[in-house]
């Protein structure tokens, strides 16, 4: 019942683009580094040199391109954004064999991409146990990322990204759906819940929940509970990580939120500049994930070869800052849209559990002892485990999408 005529998409970067990348890689020159700098000043020189050499000599883009096309069924479709423009959107779409699977929109962030759905896709669409719900999954490239067109006008902020996600689901025939996201996916899925929640968006799950310290007047019960309960060791570690992120790890955000175009020249013109900019996050934001050189270069390549160019991906920071997307009021979810959260220890905002209830009606909390910011990629089993637990029979969010319980029809009631 799709109304938007999706066109099958095959990732196929031109030989010319590959050759031009190779010319740049063959002339790369590196800055020096202070002795024993480690990670203190940014991405270490030895790592970047190794990755650049591999990118030039050993890395086989065509192989990875084939793998992506084989594992991720991709399409494009035009979506019109009210008052702004019509954009051609690239997305992954895979239906479950279970007809009444739950439609789920997966929303990535920066410096991620549609690739982040790769490991959870088979788990969501085809669980091995009949006890687990199934999902039809849609994962779009945010406008300005991957192979979606980039906006040409200013003002394309959270509301607009939410609109694209929502209209995509509607256009594919998923009138009612649930969402999952982290990083910008968190902000955008919250926005979807605020604008389209209840009627269309029935529930949402995030692995990067935000919350506010409970205040006496607004959340008296939580406030008292928070006052009386000491922080656990995990919560203390989380607050320390949040402080680290704010004081030492958010220069990129300060820059991208104010003058994104200026650093965009570096990301567009120097593959090594782009590599370092992203690699630093892939390592410092994850929990000891054993990135292979190929994985890193593939993630970076999506940005290098992206339709709008790497600089376009930064503008979301600017637009979001200008429209107050990070204000608490912009993140409050109406009570009738149940929220599930997963807490991974190396996420960037790791706040005390009590705080997440200040912004949403949280019906599910999954806690983990390992994992970081790119949960779907680092800990796919755990993340999918949480999403399944949130929607399975007997759970509070079971059956939120009428007629699409995630189980074969005819199987009703609680287990």
């Amino acid at each position: 019942m799709s109304t938007i005529s999706p066109v099958p998409f095959t990732l196929s970067i031109s030989d010319h683009a590959l050759a031009s990348l190779n010319s740049k890689l063959s002339t790369v020159q590196f800055p020096n580094e202070l002795s024993d700098a480690g990670w203190e000043y940014g991405a270490p020189l030895a790592d970047i040199k190794r990755l650049a050499a591999h990118w030039q000599d050993g890395y086989d883009w065509r192989k990875h391109e084939r793998d992506i096309n084989a594992s991720l069924p991709q399409f494009t479709a035009d979506i019109s954004v009210e008052g702004l423009e019509r954009l051609n959107i690239h997305f992954v779409h895979k239906r479950s064999a279970v007809e009444s699977a739950i439609p789920l929109l997966f929303v990535h962030g920066w410096p991620g991409s549609f690739l982040e759905v790769a490991k959870i896709l088979p788990l969501l669409t085809a669980p091995s146990s009949e006890k687990d719900p199934s999902f039809h999954v849609v994962a779009f490239s945010l406008p300005g990322y991957g192979f979606s067109e980039a906006p040409k006008t200013k003002g394309f902020a959270a509301v607009q990204y939410a609109e694209v996600g929502h209209k995509l689901m509607q256009g594919l025939g998923y009138e009612e759906y649930v969402t999952q996201g982290g990083d910008w996916g968190y902000i955008i899925t919250r926005k979807i819940a605020q604008i389209y929640g209840g009627r269309y968006c029935k529930a949402s799950h995030t692995n990067m929940p935000f919350g506010l310290r409970p205040q006496l007047l607004t959340n008296p019960f939580l406030y008292l509970k928070h006052l009386l309960t000491p922080y656990t060791a995990t919560e203390k570690a989380g607050l320390a990580r949040f402080a680290w992120f704010r004081e030492r790890g958010s220069g990129y955000a300060a820059l991208q939120s104010t003058q994104p175009q200026t650093v965009g020249y570096s990301l567009n013109d120097s593959p090594v500049g782009l590599l370092a900019w992203i690699y630093e996050k892939l390592v410092t934001w994850t929990d000891g994930y054993p990135w292979t050189d190929d994985e890193i270069i593939t993630w970076v390549s999506i940005y290098w070869f992206s339709r709008g160019g790497p600089a376009a991906s930064l503008r979301i920071y600017y637009e979001a800052a200008r429209t107050g997307a990070w204000d608490p009021s912009a993140q409050i979810v109406p009570r009738h849209v149940p929220i599930g959260i997963s807490l991974f220890p190396k996420e960037l905002f790791v706040l005390p559990k009590a705080w997440v209830h200040t912004l949403a009606n949280v019906v599910f909390i999954g806690e983990h002892t390992k994992g970081g910011h790119f949960a779907a990629y680092e800990r796919p089993q755990e993340l999918v485990g949480d999403v399944r637990a949130m929607f399975r029979k007997g759970a509070m969010a079971f059956g939120v999408v009428p007629g699409k319980t995630g189980y074969r029809n005819g199987v009703r009631g609680k287990l």
């Binding site: 031009s20 010319s23 740049k24 002339t27 020159q29 590196f30 800055p31 020096n32 580094e33 202070l34 002795s35 700098a37 000043y41 940014g42 991405a43 270490p44 020189l45 970047i48 980039a150 906006p151 040409k152 006008t153 200013k154 004081e247 030492r248 790890g249 958010s250 220069g251 990129y252 300060a254 820059l255 991208q256 939120s257 104010t258 003058q259 994104p260 175009q261 200026t262 650093v263 965009g264 020249y265 570096s266 990301l267 567009n268 013109d269 120097s270 090594v272 500049g273 782009l274 590599l275 370092a276 900019w277 630093e280 709008g308 160019g309 790497p310 600089a311 376009a312 503008r315 600017y318």
Partner: protein, 415 residues
Amino acid sequence: MVSSDIIPFAISVSDEVLADLQTRLNLARFPKNLTLSIENRWSYGVPTQSVQDLVEYWKKSFNWRKIETDINTKLPQFTTPIDAENPHGILTMHFVHKRSPNPNAVPLLFSHGWPGSFLEVGKIIEPLTNPSDPKHPAFHVVAPSLPGFVFSEASKSPGVFLKTTALMFDKLMKKLGYNHYVAQGGDWGALVVKALAVHHGDSCRGTHTNMLLVPPPTFLRNPIRILRAAMGFMGLPGGYSKREIDYLKETEGFNKHETGYQSIQGTKPQTLAYGLTDSPTALLAWIYEKLHIWTDQYPWTPDEILTWVVLYWISDAGPVGGVRYYKEGQFGDGNGAVAQIVRAHSSVPLGVSVFRKELYKFPDDWCGMLQPLVYHKFHEEGGHFAAHEKPDLLVNDICRFTEILMRRDKSLLPE
């Protein structure tokens, strides 16, 4: 008085470096721009058209050899080893040195900042060493490159910040036979001269700055100033004047919207440096943005802009030397080196010139809080690079300040 290890220096970039630049410029890949109105062209950063035009000029019309010869002719340069002490050891310092024919000339140290260089002394060195009016004071001028900038060697160890820089500059002046001198600086130079006042007040007898940084008053220590600020904001009599309130508003605006570069350079300069080292286009955009937005309608020629950029490209340390300096200074750390210098007292007399478009401007009575303020001049024009934009005005201010100093301090007269 002249050491044998003070070696005359001339800039001489190899043909290979120039050819390599051409190669990189020919491979340049530019980010696309949003469609923006004329008045908003710079709101996301440097507009693509401006960078493309400069790159075209760089490829086809920029004659570095001629400029190199001009610089070497007009600005007599030298290098000499200076002991930067533990753990940095002996580092080569590059500097301009020009003596006045006037036997009563006062030694003057001129300190540049980022993204400036020793070139900033170019327009003021002649009127300072050879004033056309014999009644004006004359100066022996020394303009060193900051450690890690251009041809001053960078340390391999972390921790070259203001104290070390001031130590090195003081040693340089003494090595040149100037046991008492006046210091002038803007941007980092403002902080360097403050460090000289704090740590080397026996030799540095007066500091003049065109960018005074002061710690904000607190309610406990300076209640009157807080009150005056509040009253001024409300437009009440007894508060600060409109001019001073505008200063505070503009300073706040700068802090909020234009200090992303400080955030990244102060936390992860290495990550940033890969792109700046590998792509001259990236470096051009990164620097040109400041040249444009920090000046007061200064009619930069393409030659000027590219010369300033090329100096960073050909630096011994490369562009990373300049950006790493921010992290060395623990810029943004409330208790870091920069904050300590800004908060420190000194009995060394201070002169302040306030140019209209400077980035940091404060109410008049904040300026004398930490040093005895003996000269305070306001200009209705000019911006951050005062020596380059308004050389006559700055020279006049330096002269007036020095005259006041010489009446108080006989040590500045020749020994």
